[in-house]
């Protein structure tokens, strides 16, 4: 097990007597993209600020790269973060000027690296313009550029997609994915569940400051669904195979996780040999939106459902969502 880059242990934050984060624990490992999702007011931004060291916990601990960022601010040399939406900059300085300032505060950064991150976020042409005239999306991209400036080991982003057009969004996703592939631990909060499914490793669902569920999206992406005669017998058979990590019956289907992607091709042969007719074998696409809606609704029995802007959007037809 790698040493977690971020360790949050029984974190509680109260303003007066009102708890906004309650007994929250999670870890983010190097190379992971960990998403916090939840309705407005669920406590996502507070968690981001607590982890980044901008706010103090009422109870519990936050450790970043093994140390408490409040006691050892030097650890922030290895942190990149955007905690404002839109990202905050000095409006009278140019994009490049702001990045230079960030570099100075972080202990110095070569001019070449500033140009690299500007190019990476496609801001090379706007580098000399005052940030005051940047669009919302440009400021957000500059925020990601500033966060990436010091080649961080930990990236913390609050609503990185806020105000971005689809192309900028795609760019930011690609940058975050690459950063994670390079070993950076990424913690982000978002309302965009599609982006979460697209590239996050794990997702925490928050409601009223509590962690009500944590979903491992890597496992979910590797799931397959087989529509078969006698699903219980098929499940029992699959479970005995060394190349199947897990199998479960879900209604008329059997959902399984192969230990390697190539193993999927062996399933139809195995079941046919056992005399079981296979009607369909497909990847089990995880419907995070539906799952999220169900989980939030289950936490609000009296309200009968979530009131969040995501949850209010039409839910696509079920594609086998929910855990097996």
């Amino acid at each position: 097990m790698p040493t977690p880059s971020i360790e949050v242990d029984r974190l509680t934050k109260r303003y007066g007597h009102r708890p906004v984060v309650q007994n929250l624990s999670f870890t983010v490992n190097p190379g992971e993209v960990y998403a916090l999702v939840g309705p407005n007011g669920a406590g996502k931004t507070t968690v981001i600020r607590l982890v980044a060291g901008l706010a103090f916990p009422s109870e519990g601990t936050v450790r970043m790269l093994g140390v408490d960022p409040h006691h050892e601010p030097g650890v922030r040399r290895r942190l990149g973060a955007v905690v404002e939406a839109p990202a905050a900059f000095y409006p009278y300085l140019s994009g490049r000027g702001n990045l230079r300032l960030h570099g100075r505060l972080a202990g110095g950064v070569p001019e070449q690296r500033i140009q690299e991150v500007l190019d990476m976020m496609e801001l090379g042409n706007a580098a000399e313009r005052r940030v005051g005239v940047y669009s919302l999306g440009m400021r957000q991209r500059l925020g990601v550029a500033a966060a990436m400036l010091m080649r961080p080991e930990v990236l913390i982003l609050d609503e990185p997609a806020s105000g971005m057009d689809p192309l900028s969004l795609h760019l930011v996703h690609a940058v975050l994915r690459d950063a994670a592939a390079g070993g950076t631990a990424v913690l982000l909060s978002t309302h965009h569940l599609d982006e979460v499914v697209a590239y996050c490793t794990r997702v925490a669902i928050l409601e009223e400051g509590r962690l009500i569920d944590e979903v491992n999206l890597l496992d979910r992406r590797e799931r397959y669904r087989v529509v078969v005669e006698e699903p219980h017998r098929a499940r029992a058979l699959l479970e005995t195979q060394p190349w199947v990590r897990h199998a479960a019956v879900r209604g008329p289907d059997v959902v399984f996780i192969p230990s390697e992607a190539e193993a999927v091709g062996r399933v139809t042969g195995l079941l046919a040999e056992a005399g079981l007719r296979v009607f369909e074998l497909t990847r089990d696409i995880f419907d995070l939106r539906g799952y999220y809606r169900e989980r939030i609704a289950s936490e609000r029995p009296t309200h009968g459902g979530a009131t969040d802007r995501i949850a209010d959007e039409p839910v696509p037809p079920a594609q086998g969502g929910g855990a097996p």
């Binding site: 980044a52 901008l54 706010a55 601010p73 990202a87 905050a88 505060l105």
Partner: protein, 251 residues
């Protein structure tokens, strides 16, 4: 870096405009005799007139507004969080602000004094019969005063006035940390100064009040020891409180 930020503050530009206009208007205002009972005879008397009419309200207010804005604008723009996410300790960053607001009263008083002297040009810069209004003998003086003596009195008075405004600037910064916005910081400072002024009904408290020390510029040099110590005490207390609160603040 912080000094550059001060120069860009709207309140600083506004203050400078006022402090440039003020002596230019006052030096030739028709009601000066009626209000202050004096006829100006020397350029060195204009700085006294400027301080007399602004030290109790206008200058503390302008200093408080700019000091509060220096931190308040970082809070409003969100750049405070951006800076605190870098490997800079909170107290280290606030100390740079504290240093700038400590120097700020001296800078604006230097401008104010210089413009006041320039505004008095038609009255002449030579020796004159009377006083600068900033020394022991007031505006009437004791015979003829040389230009050098007069300039010395003006410079000393402006230095002391700047010094006595330092706690006001630090108090504004402290209240901005408390209320997390510039308007709250400036108005709370103003309220405290008004409250202190009302405490003159307790004569025993009077020597200890910050508002009393705002008149220290007119005191003779020999009596300044106590004033310097008291103002330093106020400044240190406000600065320390600001750092302690800032260290524990949630952003």
């Amino acid at each position: 870096m912080e000094a550059g930020k001060v120069a860009r503050l709207g309140s600083v530009r506004f203050s400078l405009i006022l402090l440039i206009l003020f002596p230019l208007l006052w030096a030739y205002a028709p009601g000066i005799y009626k209000v202050y009972g004096l006829y100006l005879v020397s350029a060195y008397q204009v700085p006294a007139l400027s301080l007399l009419s602004s030290m109790q309200f206008l200058l503390p207010l302008l200093v408080a507004i700019s000091a509060a804005e220096l931190l308040g604008i970082e809070i409003a723009n969100g750049t405070l969080q951006t800076v605190l996410l870098r490997p800079v300790s909170r107290s280290q960053w606030l100390l740079s602000k504290l240093m700038v607001v400590t120097l700020y009263p001296f800078v604006i008083l230097a401008v104010f004094g210089l413009v006041s002297l320039l505004a008095g040009a038609p009255y002449g810069y030579g020796s004159f019969v009377g006083g600068t209004g900033l020394g022991q003998s007031g505006l009437l003086g004791q015979g003829t005063m040389s230009a050098g003596q007069a300039f010395g009195e003006v410079a000393r008075a402006y230095l002391v006035a700047g010094y006595s405004l330092v706690p006001v600037a630090l108090l504004a910064l402290l209240f901005t940390v408390v209320f997390m916005n510039a308007a709250g910081g400036a108005l709370a400072t103003l309220s405290v100064l008004i409250f202190m002024k009302l405490l003159v009904v307790f004569p025993a408290l009077d020597p200890y009040l910050l508002t009393t020390q705002l008149n220290a510029y007119a005191k003779p040099v020999g009596n300044l020891g106590w004033v310097v110590a008291l103002i330093a005490l106020y400044a240190a207390a406000f600065a320390a409180a600001a750092v302690v609160l800032f260290e524990r603040k949630d952003f």
